[in-house]
């Protein structure tokens, strides 16, 4: 299991780089994950719109939203989501929003 250093604390990531404990997520941690997992040095307003929508959906329903809902809820177009997160909506955006890895062919 991998760990990343966050303000002097060891944060546990699972084998695929997702937070072991989704509950500890916060925006500063998202920035660290962005750099560590997606190679993104900074997060733009568009990144945040996507991440915050996914996070609030997850906190309410304990699951990842459909990309349809992400587009509607964040106001970001589909192609732009793929451009913003190189690993895609699941292994990119959901991971930075601190969600567990979705099941299925992802």
């Amino acid at each position: 299991m991998a760990t990343i250093d966050f303000k002097g604390t060891c944060i546990e990531l699972n084998e695929e780089g997702f937070l072991v404990d989704p509950g500890i997520w916060n925006e500063e941690l998202a920035l660290v994950l962005a750099k560590h997992e997606e190679g993104l040095e900074e997060l733009t307003e568009e990144h945040w719109a996507v991440i915050k929508y996914i996070r609030s959906y997850f906190e309410e329903k304990q699951s990842a939203p459909m990309v349809r809902a992400v587009c509607k809820g964040s106001g970001i177009r589909l192609q732009q989501i793929y451009d913003l997160f190189p690993s895609g909506p699941a292994k990119g955006a959901c991971k930075l929003a601190g969600l567990p890895k979705p099941d299925g062919c992802v």
């Binding site: 990842a64 459909m66 292994k91 299925g104 062919c105 992802v106």
Partner: protein, 440 residues
């Protein structure tokens, strides 16, 4: 709790009776011919170089014959007289916790059931069938890695492997219909749901609905251009995946495939079309009738066959100059080596792109991308999966292609990860995406 702990906790809790019954399940999955194959390995070593795990990470435990040996030694110890009387003489070993750990590691942790070792075996030992029998035994003891099992459980509970609710699926289909109408400038373009009596029932991978709907839009565009009579189910029966083929619990696999057969009966369609997917095709076309012990009274075809038919019949106007970059093709093991669909995808690509090059080797001898056999969903083995994928990554680099087409969403996802891991700088597309792009 980490996956490693998870296995140890489960192993500790196993009773002797459960282990005994696990062995019975193993034996029950073997046909006579397979039993004889358990005794036929001549240790020639040819399989070693055929396996992408062993090519990427040469070590004894990655050699297919070694993986088989763990299984054979248990079979001898339990089910042969000489193995019971003089185990040391024939290499018979007991099915204890240490051996069960070795089985889990060999058949879940170091094998994608791709079958390349089998076609390169001097004897023709059907390794995937034997490894599947071992997985079935482990499944009966509750030892399927939890993330793989969760994917099966989603299908059993929700009718699709990503736990998508009906409203979410329907809303996505309606959205993609609007997008398609805008793309082709035709308000009559449809993604029809529940059209009773339609000729074709089309099925998709839930990851298209959940995260990657452009591939669904591309398939729908092909149907639109061909003016086809088609539909999809709004309830269970739209998802073509079946992870029961990977956890090897045949009862669960049968329950999942019933979603498709029930939808065919409910909607009275004439042909079941499996969208671009390796294991989905293998499940519906070849394994489904075995699991359900019944004949499917309608053809089950791959969407590739249908797209090729449209091109042959002149129902699609395509311009290969719409796809000018060099394209290569990755062959999904379940579709090609196991499924027998080899030519349609190549014939399609030669018509819709103007620059196509095969990988070396390709077709029946292709290397697995590394994501098959349920590997993509078993997080515990991610590092091995990506290393094993280095064989495919180097094939892709050698091809010089800028686009890798593959008719399988599972392969798409693994190739996306290989793209990142090995800095391949490629685009990965389904075949329908390239066809749709070439439609004029």
């Amino acid at each position: 709790m980490s996956e490693l702990d998870e296995l140890e906790v489960k192993l500790k809790a196993l009773t002797e009776a459960e282990i005994e019954s696990g062995l019975d399940v193993f034996k029950s999955k073997l046909r006579e011919a397979e039993v004889s194959y358990l005794n036929s390995c001549v240790h020639c070593g040819l399989c070693a170089n055929s396996c992408h795990y062993n090519r990427a990470m040469p070590e004894l435990e990655n050699v297919p014959a070694r993986k088989l040996e763990h299984i054979v030694s248990v079979f001898k110890s339990k089910f042969t007289t000489i193995g019971r009387i003089a185990p040391g003489l024939v290499g018979a070993r007991p099915f204890n916790r240490e051996m069960i750990r070795a089985w889990v590691d060999a058949v879940f942790g170091r094998c994608s059931l791709c079958g390349r070792c089998s076609i390169n075996c001097t004897i023709g030992i059907p390794m995937p069938s034997l490894f599947r029998a071992a997985r079935a035994s482990l499944a009966s003891m509750g030892l399927v890695p939890s993330d793989l099992q969760a994917t099966v459980d989603n299908s059993l509970k929700y009718g699709n492997n990503m736990a998508i609710e009906k409203e979410e699926w329907v809303e996505t289909v309606e959205w993609i219909e609007e997008e398609l109408q805008a793309e082709v400038e035709d308000t009559e373009a449809r993604l029809p749901l529940d059209k009773v009596g339609a000729k074709y029932l089309f099925t998709v991978n839930p990851r298209e609905a959940k995260f990657f709907p452009l591939s669904l839009q591309a398939s729908a565009k092909v149907f639109w251009a061909a003016k086809e009579d088609w539909t999809m189910a709004s309830d269970a029966g739209w998802d073509l995946t079946n992870y029961g083929i990977f956890n090897c619990n045949d009862d669960q696999a049968g329950a999942i495939i019933s979603n498709l057969t029930n939808a065919m009966e409910r909607l009275k369609c004439k042909v079941l079309v499996i969208g671009e997917c390796g294991h989905g095709y293998q499940s519906a076309r070849w394994m489904g009738p075995e699991w359900l012990k019944k004949h499917f009274p309608y053809p089950v075809i791959s969407f590739l066959e249908l797209m090729y038919e449209y091109l042959e019949q002149g129902r699609l106007n395509v311009d290969p100059n719409k796809n000018t970059q060099l394209v290569t093709l990755h062959d999904p093991c379940n579709l090609v080596r196991h499924g027998g669909i080899l030519e349609p995808q190549r014939r399609i690509l030669r018509r819709v792109v103007n620059n196509f090059a095969e990988m070396t080797p390709y077709g029946h001898e292709n290397y697995c991308c590394g994501g098959g056999g349920g590997q993509l969903s078993m997080g515990k083995y991610k590092s091995r999966r990506l290393k094993a994928g280095s064989v495919k990554a180097s094939q892709i680099s050698s091809s010089k292609a800028k686009i890798v087409a593959t008719p399988c969403h599972n392969c798409v996802d693994q190739l996306m990860e290989l793209n990142k891991e090995y800095s391949l700088k490629i685009q990965i597309k389904t075949v329908a995406e390239l066809v749709a792009n070439a439609i004029v």
